[in-house]
């Protein structure tokens, strides 16, 4: 998998004012039977977007509203991504064109999965989050610029806000570096640790027969 690279981008907002949006809503489990990552854009929020016969709901779910077409920042409620570890969630969000999610908090595993796929989970203080949610609903022409190198976000009023991101993830994403490659640079230390900690788990060889 090529590591994602993120720099500066400017895009519109999509409001999703629901708390605790869980991974079963982001990608329902029946779409997890794939063995690759392709084609998940239609699985995204599937049961909120489509009728049982596969046609789009009328009125459409917010991400399908024509007025939000092409907007790449989701403004979501608290604890976004709660639930399972399925990386299909950020795969589907990415396939649909979501580049960043603004929320007051994220579920741990989702946050980690999102970063690995170049989608920025940005935690905002409640007042700024509320303002942006309002703007997302009311001002369709509004755009936000996210500058990962500076870890700042420029809001439609021209103000610039710093957002928290750990330095490591920031560097990996800016340089398009791969976490697996990073771990492999330390293979000497891994070997030394293994030798020092032989452990008692062996999946290949049972110790006793039952």
């Amino acid at each position: 998998m090529a590591a994602p690279k993120v720099g500066t981008f400017t895009t519109g907002l999509v409001p999703l004012p629901a708390e605790n949006v869980d991974t079963d809503q982001i990608v329902p489990a029946r779409y997890l039977k794939v063995i690759d990552k392709a084609g998940l854009a239609d699985a995204l929020f599937h049961d909120w977007r489509f009728e049982a016969d596969g046609t789009k709901k009328n009125p459409p779910f917010v991400i399908d509203e024509p007025r939000y077409a092409g907007h790449g920042i989701l403004v979501a409620g608290d604890n976004f991504g709660t639930g399972s570890s399925r990386e299909h969630a950020p795969w589907a969000l990415g396939a649909f064109g979501i580049k960043a999610i603004l929320a007051t908090s994220f579920a741990d595993i989702f946050k980690s999965n999102a970063l690995k796929n170049g989608i920025l989970p940005i935690v905002l203080p409640a007042p700024l989050h509320a303002t942006l949610m309002q703007i997302a609903k009311e001002d369709l022409a509004a755009t936000v610029t996210i500058n990962l190198a500076a870890a700042t976000m420029t809001t439609p009023d021209g103000a610039t806000h710093a957002f928290p991101i750990d330095l490591f993830s920031q560097k990996m994403l800016l340089d398009g570096l791969d976490e697996l490659d990073y771990i492999r640079t330390q293979s000497g230390k891994i070997e030394a640790h293994e030798t020092a900690h032989p452990g008692t788990i062996n999946t290949l060889q049972p110790n006793a027969s039952r």
Partner: protein, 470 residues
């Protein structure tokens, strides 16, 4: 400085810690299943890498396989292809596989402990958020994404930041009819589904010490529903007794040495936690969820909450939406809500002790007319044991459906599912919208509450069953 068991396990597994970077953490056991692994093996292949430690890796098929008799082919083409892909990947990379026809097959979190692979002090990961189950043995066990599955396959390591610690102390004695499931549902109802975010729970206190290993697994299993990626119980004699003699547990002198080491895995006197909560087991009732996340739960004698009483507008909105989806009315009592389906199974409550509890309620009885009752053992081994004890016959005679092992209606990937609008009482762990089938509605509860409900067809208080009075 006094340390918690969480810090002790963490420190022992740090391979490298660079300034500003996450730690490289060594992983002792990697569990693999068909749904979250195919893209990781593809990644390995495209990088030309091998599985570094096949001897620390084990796979099974559980999520997408049917629970109909194993001599039938898998009818769903995509599920069949996924299971075949797992078999091909394991063969190519030398990973031991307890495939869907193997006598050791089962839900990944049921078979790890069963085989004695889940051991105290270990770091355990799986591309599955309920990996926390293994914490019952005093292991640091957590779910990871597929990119991380690839990293662990390739390096047997992960990049991790040190988690914060959260002490959950449960003191006192559970009343008859109240079980481990009710403890964890009560915790989540109190702290909410995001309450443990960024933390690892340590469950302690006299009520936890009194639990069997299977009951501890039920509690640790649902740590993620409280937002914590992991949750654990320090090992004790109960843990060692469970593990002794299991196929992959150490034997002889190795066993004695291991137990001596495991005994040091307790939190030191005076160790501090980032957060703490105390729960009084004496006051707990059976719990049932009424909403669309596991935090929306209440004591079974309670009434469905009213959004009008919520001071926080976001919470009021969420509650309104949940009650709409569930088609429930604020102020109504939860007892007496009709159900179409009763599901007994999953990695939360699909082990032998859970089936015994349910069978005990259903013995000599008949399930309510028109109610579908599905009993799905957590593993092939649980199924064999239940059949040795005649539990399958009790379930069948009562009118319940006795199935092959798998995740089944916990996640509804395999065709076992609710129809739109149907209600289930379920011993699984998630009541999200559509979790048990598109449009399906889930009440989460214990095996006892589910079995009591099976008899009446409406949510019933297990404390009213014979032999359960206080």
């Amino acid at each position: 400085m006094p340390k918690t068991i969480i810090e002790k396990i963490w420190n022992e597994h740090v391979v490298d810690q660079q300034e500003g970077a996450p730690a490289i953490l060594a992983i002792d056991l990697h569990l693999v299943h068909e749904v979250t692994s195919p893209q990781a093996f593809t990644g390995l292949r495209s990088r030309g890498l091998k599985v570094r430690r096949p001897d620390r890796t084990v796979a099974t098929a559980d999520h997408s396989i049917p629970t109909t008799p194993r001599n039938l082919p898998i009818a769903d083409e995509m599920a069949a292809a996924q299971v075949k892909q797992l078999e091909a990947n394991c063969a190519e990379f030398g990973v031991p596989l307890h495939g869907w026809e193997s006598p050791n097959q089962g839900i990944v979190h049921v078979i790890g402990p069963e085989l004695g692979l889940t051991q105290p002090g270990a770091t355990i990961v799986c591309g599955d958020s309920h990996t926390a189950t293994h914490g019952a043995f005093g292991a640091l066990a957590f779910g990871i994404g597929t990119s991380e599955v690839e990293m662990v396959l390739a390096t047997q390591c992960l990049l991790q930041r040190k988690p914060k610690t959260y002490l959950v102390r449960v003191d006192g004695t559970l009343r008859p009819g109240v079980s481990a499931k009710d403890i964890i549902l009560a915790l989540i109802a109190r702290i909410g589904v995001g309450g443990g975010t960024g933390h690892v729970f340590e469950y302690a206190g006299s009520a936890i010490r009194a639990l069997s290993m299977e009951e501890r697994m039920t509690i640790c299993n649902m740590s993620i529903e409280g937002g914590a990626r992991a949750g654990l119980v320090a090992p004790d004699e109960t843990t060692f007794a469970y593990l002794k003699g299991r196929p992959h547990a150490p034997q002889g002198a190795d066993w004695d040495a291991a137990v001596a080491r495991w005994r040091t895995l307790t939190s030191d006197e005076g160790a501090t936690y980032d957060k703490e909560i105390v729960i009084d087991a004496n006051t707990l009732e059976p719990m049932v969820t009424y909403g669309t996340n596991p935090g929306m739960g209440l004591p079974i004698s309670g009434t469905i909450p009213d959004p009008a009483n919520e001071s926080d507008p976001a919470a009021a909105r969420a509650l309104t939406r949940a009650l709409e989806y569930m088609d429930l009315r604020a102020g109504d009592s939860i007892i007496g809500r009709p159900v179409n389906t009763v599901f007994i199974g999953s990695c939360t409550n699909g082990r032998i002790s859970d089936l015994r509890l349910a069978a005990n309620v259903l013995k000599g009885q008949t399930v309510a007319k028109g109610v579908r009752v599905m009993v799905v053992p957590g593993s092939a081994d649980v199924k064999r044991q239940a059949e040795r004890e005649g539990l399958d016959k009790i379930f069948r005679d009562a009118g319940a459906d006795w199935r092959e092992a798998g995740c089944s209606m916990c996640i509804a990937m395999n065709g076992d599912q609710l129809a739109p609008g149907e209600y289930a009482i379920s011993t699984s762990n998630r009541n999200f919208e559509g979790r048990q089938g598109k449009g399906g509605r889930t009440f989460l509860a214990s095996p006892l509450t589910a079995a009591a409900t099976a008899l009446t067809g409406v949510i019933a208080d297990p404390r009213t069953l014979p032999g359960m009075s206080r």
